[in-house]
């Protein structure tokens, strides 16, 4: 998995590509812990090139949503491919996250 970060003022975009599996999730968590700090108002997770999400990946995403809630910001998950969307729906994550 690769993560590309872009920051514009208070908006942070992370584009992840590849497999968000048990070995990749800690890297995403570490990157989000480092980047989601005071001053970030909008966090965009671009999943256009992510074709696989395991439960560890879901936990990482849930952690980011909680962090943005704590920062009184918003989190948007965008460009989710249909296979991954099915995983979000099955686990109830589709109701928790904001999609675009």
């Amino acid at each position: 998995m690769e993560i590309k970060k872009t920051q514009n003022d208070s908006e942070l975009v992370m584009a992840i590509s590849g497999r968000l599996d048990t070995n990749a999730a800690p890297k995403l968590i570490a990157d989000m812990d480092e980047c989601l700090v005071e001053g970030v108002k909008t966090f965009v997770l671009d999943m256009a090139d992510c074709d696989y999400v395991a439960s560890s990946g879901l936990r990482a995403i849930l952690g980011a949503q909680k962090k943005m809630n704590a920062l009184s910001g918003t989190m948007v998950v965008k460009n989710v491919v249909s296979d991954v969307m099915e995983v979000f729906e099955m686990t109830g994550f589709a109701d928790i996250l904001n999609f675009e």
């Binding site: 439960s55 849930l62 928790i96």
Partner: protein, 137 residues
């Protein structure tokens, strides 16, 4: 066909496990959409073995991939270890209706496996933990 992969149960071998499963799903002509979900299930159960079965010590894990010629649209995957008795299916399902703040994160993997697979069985036999899962498409 019946394929076998015997490895040391650790997270470094996750790529090997997923490679084995994906390669055989392709040979079995499993549709891509379903193959991805089956891989998620195998990952969840393998990670359980790698993380808990041997309490951090090293130990073996064997995976079997089976497809009967008479039922080419059905596969069965077995994961075996010789670790302490552990039935992952006993884990309670998470409440998937809660919001982000209230949401507990345990049990999610097994919940996904139960949702994706048609059948999943746990057996303890001769000091082995055996998980068998089946999927038809």
């Amino acid at each position: 066909m019946k394929k076998e992969l015997k490895i040391e149960a650790n997270l470094d071998n996750l790529d090997l496990v997923l490679g084995f499963i994906e390669e055989n799903l392709e040979l079995a002509e499993c549709p891509m959409k379903i193959a991805m979900k089956i891989a998620v299930c195998v990952e969840e159960l393998y990670v359980n073995v790698a993380s808990y079965a041997y309490d951090g010590a090293s130990g073996d894990c064997t995976l079997y991939f089976e497809q009967d010629e008479k039922t080419p649209n059905r596969i069965s995957i077995t994961i075996e270890d010789k670790g302490k008795p552990f039935n992952p299916l006993e884990k309670a399902d998470p409440d998937t209706t809660l919001d982000a703040e209230e949401r507990e994160i345990g049990g999610l993997g097994i919940f996904m496996v139960k949702n994706i697979m048609d059948n999943i069985i746990y057996e303890r036999k001769q000091k082995n933990n055996i998980i068998i899962m089946e999927k038809t498409w």
